[in-house]
């Protein structure tokens, strides 16, 4: 009995954590949802903001652009990370740790410096653009870094190390003994991946895909530095709260809610696919 009481006293230590989570995680989200339904004066509730977004081609385009760029960059990033982390598991332990460390290092390289680095490399007078021009190769003809295509390339860059960081531990779960056992029972390499390997890594793969997608949907500084005013959800949101032409925090909140809803439905879709996959198996 005394022990129980002691344990309950321990909960006091959780108070700072609970306060921080309330103040900086839960309350902000509630505030956004609340203000997305408020009339701009803040007196009564309305659906005006949502109606405006869904009837405005400009805002709809920003949603479409964000989703398309995020989807493409996460799929490509995931594929490269998948191949890469599979290869990393094949290396000797010492090299493996170094490669992982290097890859993790670059995962912090994003935002304005990253955009700038790509301008140096493949911008209008970038190193590779100049090399290609000098050699007379039409490698970059039709490619413009300061466009949707360029954004996708830069987004893929920051998706790869994050993908490797998240996928590598999953590959580590596949024990070598399983492959041996499967081969001994007559399975081919392809068979092993089809019936054992893939089902084991699938949950982690979909989870990683979700995080990469969220990462791209939420990216802001990179796109802003590279293209300036490319029509993306995050750029619309930030120009609505701190821009100099149109200030409308309630509209920004509604945009943020829509962005959040897209991420949530994406996660739910992932879970559903996972459940379905399990049933089939």
């Amino acid at each position: 009995m005394r022990k129980r009481k002691d344990n309950l006293l321990l909960l006091i230590w959780l108070i700072p954590f609970i306060l921080l989570i309330l103040a900086f995680e839960i309350l902000p989200v509630i505030t956004i949802i609340n203000s997305s339904f408020l009339q701009s004066g803040g007196t009564y509730y309305t659906l005006k903001q949502y109606k405006l977004i869904f009837n405005n081609k400009f805002y709809l385009q920003s949603i479409e652009n964000s989703v398309v760029i995020s989807l493409i960059s996460s799929i490509v990033g995931l594929l490269v990370a998948l191949i890469g982390s599979h290869s990393i598991t094949k290396l000797p332990a010492k090299i493996r740790d170094n490669v992982l460390m290097l890859s993790n290092m670059t995962s912090n390289f994003a935002g304005v410096p990253l955009a700038f680095a790509f301008m140096i490399l493949i911008g209008i007078n970038g190193v590779f653009t100049v090399i290609a021009k000098n050699l007379g190769i039409k490698l970059f003809q039709g490619f413009n870094l300061y466009s949707e295509m360029g954004l996708i390339v830069v987004y893929i860059y920051f998706q790869i190390p994050l993908g490797i960081l998240l996928l590598y531990p999953i590959f580590d779960n596949i024990k070598k003994e399983w492959i041996d056992a499967a081969v001994m029972l007559g399975a081919s390499n392809a068979n092993f991946w089809r019936y054992i390997g893939l089902p084991v890594i699938l949950p982690g793969l979909l989870g990683t895909f979700g995080i990469l997608f969220a990462n791209a949907m939420g990216a802001y500084a990179t796109a802003y530095a590279l293209v300036g005013n490319f029509n993306l959800m995050t750029i619309r949101i930030s120009s609505l709260i701190s821009g100099d032409i149109t200030l409308d925090p309630n509209l920004a909140s509604a945009m943020a809610v829509i962005l959040g809803l897209i991420l949530i439905s994406f996660t739910l879709l992932n879970e559903m696919m996972l459940k379905k996959g399990n049933n089939v198996r």
């Binding site: 900086f24 989200v29 490669v99 410096p113 140096i120 909140s253 959040g260």
Partner: protein, 204 residues
């Protein structure tokens, strides 16, 4: 078998080149005298760095970044280590709840939470928008998923429950066991996660 391995090396070298080219380019640009239409810079100089480090505003910004990141890290560790320890050892039923709250930051991009934070704290009972405190709070949430995962892994990896039981049997109370058994065992994990979060925060 041997031949297969070459493919893996080639793949990894390609990925690493792709990942490091932008870093290398930025560095070269930072020591170039002039580099606009040529393949390589025309000459090299450290003048930019000397200029940067003699600029008071840059030094102030650097100092502030360092202070905010390390302060966040210290507060986060002070709050999170006891919280995660108490929940995993004494209230395992709450683990799921804790985990949910630590994953949420992944689903809320910075721009979204910024909208809420500005609205919430620009006026009202706690007007901390524009001060260092709002940044500390926001950074705490940003580093939460990373710190949680590594502290949690550390606790699970050393079988904290069993260690606490053993310490209790030997006559140490919970607090003593925490400071003399659990904390020293967690040191390595904490340092690694602290470095990771520090670099994330510093880069923001």
């Amino acid at each position: 078998m041997k031949k297969n391995n070459y493919i893996h090396y080639v793949i990894i070298v390609f990925i690493l080149i792709f990942l490091f080219l932008p870093l290398l380019a930025t560095f070269l640009y930072s020591i170039a005298t002039q580099w606009d239409t040529t393949v390589l810079p025309k000459g090299f100089t450290f003048a930019w760095y000397i200029k940067l480090f003699s600029d008071m505003r840059f030094l102030k910004a650097l100092e502030r970044s360092l202070i905010v990141s390390s302060l966040t890290l210290i507060i986060s560790l002070l709050v999170l280590i006891p919280t995660i320890f108490i929940i995993t050892v004494y209230f395992p039923k709450l683990e799921k709840v804790l985990k949910t709250f630590t994953i949420i930051p992944f689903a809320i991009p910075g721009v979204i939470s910024a909208v809420g934070l500005i609205k919430l704290y620009s006026n009202g009972p706690l007007p901390i928008a524009g001060t260092i405190w709002i940044l500390l709070g926001a950074y705490f949430i940003v580093s939460l998923p990373f710190l949680y995962q590594s502290i949690y892994n550390g606790l699970k990896g050393m079988n904290a429950n069993i260690l606490i039981d053993a310490a209790n049997l030997l006559g140490a109370n919970g607090v003593k066991a925490f400071f003399h058994v659990i904390l020293p065992n967690m040191k390595k994990g904490i340092i690694v996660s602290a470095l990771l979060s520090f670099s994330i925060l510093f880069g923001m």
